[in-house]
Symmetry: C2
Subunit: 397 residues, 2 copies
Amino acid sequence: MPKISEKALHMPASPIRKLVPFAEAAKSKGVKIYHLNIGQPDIETPQVMLDAVRNFSPKVVEYSHSAGMESYRKKLSGYYRKHGIDINHEQILVTCGGSEAIEIAMMSCLNGGDEILIPEPFYANYNGFSCQADVVVKPIKSVIENGFALPPIAEFEKLITPKTKAIMICNPGNPTGYLYSKEELELLKDLVLKYDLFLFSDEVYKEFCYDGAAYTSVMHLNGADNNIILLDSISKRYSACGARIGALITKNAQVMQAALKFAQARLSPPTFGQVGAEAAIDTPQSYFDEVNKEYTTRRNFLVEALNKMPGVFCPMPKGAFYCIARLPIDDADKFCQWLLESFSFENQTVMLAPATGFYSTPNSGKNEVRIAYVLNLDALKHAMTCLEKALEAYNKQ
Amino acid sequence: MPKISEKALHMPASPIRKLVPFAEAAKSKGVKIYHLNIGQPDIETPQVMLDAVRNFSPKVVEYSHSAGMESYRKKLSGYYRKHGIDINHEQILVTCGGSEAIEIAMMSCLNGGDEILIPEPFYANYNGFSCQADVVVKPIKSVIENGFALPPIAEFEKLITPKTKAIMICNPGNPTGYLYSKEELELLKDLVLKYDLFLFSDEVYKEFCYDGAAYTSVMHLNGADNNIILLDSISKRYSACGARIGALITKNAQVMQAALKFAQARLSPPTFGQVGAEAAIDTPQSYFDEVNKEYTTRRNFLVEALNKMPGVFCPMPKGAFYCIARLPIDDADKFCQWLLESFSFENQTVMLAPATGFYSTPNSGKNEVRIAYVLNLDALKHAMTCLEKALEAYNKQ
């Protein structure tokens, strides 16, 4: 029997998937599970987007342009301009989700063995994409005490070698909810210019900034156009994760030309999703206002409830719809499994993501969990009651 | 300015794209172009598929399972069983087009530097996917004289080294239209068993077999379940190229487990496309009968017309909707560019794909072109008149 590749052996399995069999077993016992473990929002997709797909009129579902439908890219450049990002449609490559944007960016910019610096905790699939591209992730620890702010630039500089090719950030952050300030981003800009690095910025949560906090995109920075690659997706913006529409955006013409070659090999991004995404640009501001209000309410409740629990600390996130909480536990993986396997309160329990999966440094995040506030307030209340009871029970074992 | 990757530099640009600027220039001069250069069929997508997408009812466009919607995979396994392929839904990974199926198969099975044997001429993007996966393509020449039949097994064996990990075929063939016989496939099976190789079979044109010829899938072969990976797509079957729905199918559980890790990193295949694809399985047989009849008529006309032209030879393809014709020309790239740049007959011209792009061996296919018969008979007639006039004019220059 022929062997699978070394790459496949090294490819990390999703850290959350390990818990799925335990969740299924709990469900089969009739336990209700509050899913705070994944970023699948319960918010409705804008009507204007669904209507466009439902009104799809061509008789043939054709390939689009490999860079995405020109009409969509043109309209999208208008969307970005409204957000202070001055780009034209030729600086946009439409991708199959934000995932493909990251894959193509890595292949376009990094050689096998090259190193990418990423503040940790970070979105776990960055590990998978790096493995695919034979890229080496060098994590730089951010800490819960300051809400996972940008680590000191000196910490980045310590890790820079001739192999270092890029820095990657997620802003607002998954899993941290941290929103980088303009000052922090300026520091990163200076760093990438100093060392001639790419700056990859995953900004798929940019619509989710709270308390009136200003969102600064890397595309708002001046003087580093050739270094900056913006990675975007409509998945969270329009609660349309399944449409699989993302974008790689850069003013670096060489990178765009390279990215287009990878895009041409896979022919085109999905047509139905693009039709929906193009229409979704007309989503009224009221939709975002309501979503923002809803998530703010959820976040405020959640963070307050967490911090009231004995031994729990949760910084107040300014963006995305995640928070990381430090719990009075020995081992987050063990605890999250125990929640599903051995605990229930009034026949209910909670599924959380152990933060260990978001760290690249071994043994990090062992007393932290990521909580996605993608359920409504009522469900969140029940979930927090469960969690409080669970922490009591877990530590009495 | 940071440099793009070596991989991006080596990534082949699509051979057909080089002609696009010349086609655009011709169009802007008012010349009508018959596009025989691409595999975008003009056939209508089945109504049942379009209706399903138009009736999409969920309020949230959610991620599907990373392997694809379970309901779709279950129905799809029924589709395959109808075609004599006995697989269950856990042996199917739904992908973003056939392209992603090939990408994931390569990453799952081959290490960087490993070699894959492919009879040439072959689908040009195999080069791109190989480049992405750092896989080395070793071409084995098939010849126009026998219609691009399987080259002698001895030719494969000559190239097998410790680095050889897989053989890849496309059946029915793009760009050749050749349909492998059961006997040829049995020879390949014996070969992959003898040398412990994977056999990747791209069968996206399987609905397009003519003259009552039997289609044999690699999945119909016995005793090589762990070696065989079937790569499929609905793009051509339902004329739904833009839906971006393909599949990687294997009974090798290790490969499927590996493939699933890559699939999980990119989250899920497109939801709208899957909804359409699931419904499309109910496409009535009459649709395929009509399509088959239409392509048979086109093919018969095309091949006859080509062989009537002085100095032209075109074998009769048994499958897909392509043929390769040998023309009395010095250089197919030059000729195809000349057709767009310097020729027109009654203000019309033809866009063809130079066969050079489908060969990996330098200087091969220089007097061959690929013709996709994706236009209706009337357009094909005009196109063939153009080509005949063009060959006369080209050789009088």
